[in-house]
């Protein structure tokens, strides 16, 4: 397909106002206390440090601030609780502004402005690309790994007759919201959501004929384990679809990304609670190693890139800014990191990759 623009330029004034907004709000928000472990499961209200843990709270806050400034990688344990914390707090704002789909949109045509439909179209286009239903068989049992508030699951069970979906997320808020939305949409007997770890899926092996991971792979600290679990829970002959942010493939002989490229990613990782990135080529070789068949890959970076500009634009109105302020420091940092995502795309280091494969049939 012809690409009409290879890079996405953000107007200087828009850039400046976003940076200023982020700095102002960041300053204000950092005076709020925040605790390291989420204690509330149903509402993302700001958490206050209790008097008995105030000193610990201050010490760990200082340590976290230092790690943030140095863009230090998080430990797996910190990552897990951080992800739950981040999404417990940020999901409500995202849903208010963007709706139930927490992923990129499909921007063909490039200048489309129906963003929610673009997000729905992405799911359909990915399924089409992966060839789901091409052989006349549609999936009946679906697992949504890293399900957010369940947008994909609900869309997929509506799309395929007789299908049921189980979604897993680390965030209790997301699981609850997912079940609530399923009930509202009359889908509660077809889509259900649990709190669970994608690296240790609580399902028997050989269960699902469609294993779906849309923009969650980025969070997995152990890509090998992640891939192995996806294959384990897939039914023989079942299909696995991974859509995820990766860094560019390394050139033959290139041992790693450049320092400049690593720096951009390290900053984004702090904001979005991400572990070290890998490339699409890495996923392909992990899948090959794990015995997957019919492996196919694709790069849709240019198709989804207009989404970031749209997200940034959407955050520059009073309602979103107020919501951002209310959601706390981590969400605000996430908003600022959008500029970094854009930078990464323009620099060619961040890619939006698609990988699909099937599990060996018995």
């Amino acid at each position: 397909a012809a690409r009409t623009s290879d890079t996405l330029k953000l107007k200087p004034t828009m850039k400046l106002s976003l940076v200023l907004a982020a700095l102002l709000l960041g300053n204000f928000a950092s005076t709020q206390a925040f605790s390291p472990r989420p204690t509330s499961t149903s509402s993302p209200a700001p958490l206050a440090a209790s008097s008995s843990t105030a000193l610990h709270g201050i010490r760990s806050a200082v340590a976290r601030a230092r790690d943030s400034l140095l863009s230090r990688e998080r430990t797996d344990e910190d990552l897990k609780s951080g992800i739950a914390f981040f999404y417990d707090r940020s999901s409500k704002l995202w849903e208010d502004v963007w709706g139930e789909h927490m992923h990129h949109g499909y921007y063909i045509p490039e200048d489309r402005t129906d963003h929610v439909q673009a997000q729905i179209d992405l799911i359909d286009e990915v399924l089409k690309w992966a060839g789901v239903g091409d052989d006349g068989k549609t999936p009946k049992k679906v697992v949504d790994v890293g399900c957010g508030i369940g947008g994909s699951s609900r869309h997929i069970v509506r799309k395929y007759e007789g299908a049921t979906a189980n979604g897993i997320t680390l965030s209790p808020y997301q699981a609850q919201r997912g079940n609530e939305l399923a009930k509202e949409q009359g889908l509660e007997d077809r889509a259900s959501f649990q709190v669970a770890d994608a690296l240790n899926q609580p399902f028997p092996s050989n269960t699902f004929d469609l294993v779906w991971s849309l923009e969650s792979g980025e969070h997995m600290p152990d890509k090998q384990k992640f891939v192995n679990e996806l294959l384990r829970v897939a039914a023989p002959g079942g299909r696995i679809i991974i859509v995820t942010w990766c860094h560019r493939d390394l050139l033959p002989g290139e041992p790693c990304l450049s320092t400049k490229e690593e720096k951009i990613l390290a900053k984004i990782n702090r904001a979005y609670y991400l572990p070290k990135w890998c490339s699409v080529a890495d996923y392909v070789s992990l899948l090959e190693k794990a015995g997957a068949e019919n492996i196919k890959r694709e790069d849709w970076s240019y198709i989804i890139a207009p989404f970031w500009k749209a997200v940034i634009k959407s955050s520059l109105n009073l309602k979103s800014l107020v919501g951002l302020l209310k959601s706390g420091f981590s969400t605000i940092r996430g908003a600022y990191a959008m500029l970094l995502m854009l930078k990464g795309f323009n620099a060619g280091v961040i890619k939006f990759g698609l990988i699909t494969c099937t599990k060996k049939d018995e």
Binding site: T41, S42, E77, K80, K140, K141, E161, G162, T164, N166, I168, L170, P172, A175, Q176, N179, D189, R190, S192, F193, Q194, V195, A196, D197, L199, N200, Q201, P202, F203, P204, T207
Partner: protein, 133 residues
Amino acid sequence: MRLLTHNFLKSNVKGTENGYPLNIEVTTINCEESPLDKLFLLNLLPKVNYPALRTAVQQISQHCVPPLPEIPEQLDVSDKESNQNLDHETLKNLHRVLFDVYLIEGWLVCPDTGRKFPVKEGIPNMILHEDEI
């Protein structure tokens, strides 16, 4: 959490291969009637592990008001064709136990290690601790 969901959940605590099916400890349970969608149920039945379903029903039935209906002691649900021959009463009962019962608060217990996974506000939390992985 409905029994339909429970049917798909397994404990994978380190060192156990027998983490299925999970035993259920009820604290709070709700029943909410919903209409039977025969076609959907028939489509779903081959995917259900029937012995696990029957055990689950036995474990929670006493907590339900009114008590859950009786479902056959043994049933081979794997064949779509023969499922079509199930009588309406059986299908209604299967629907009721799969879809209409909600565990709101309680525990899912690993049959092998005894590890308890909490169910809060209807949502099971299956995340393992660091030393269980």
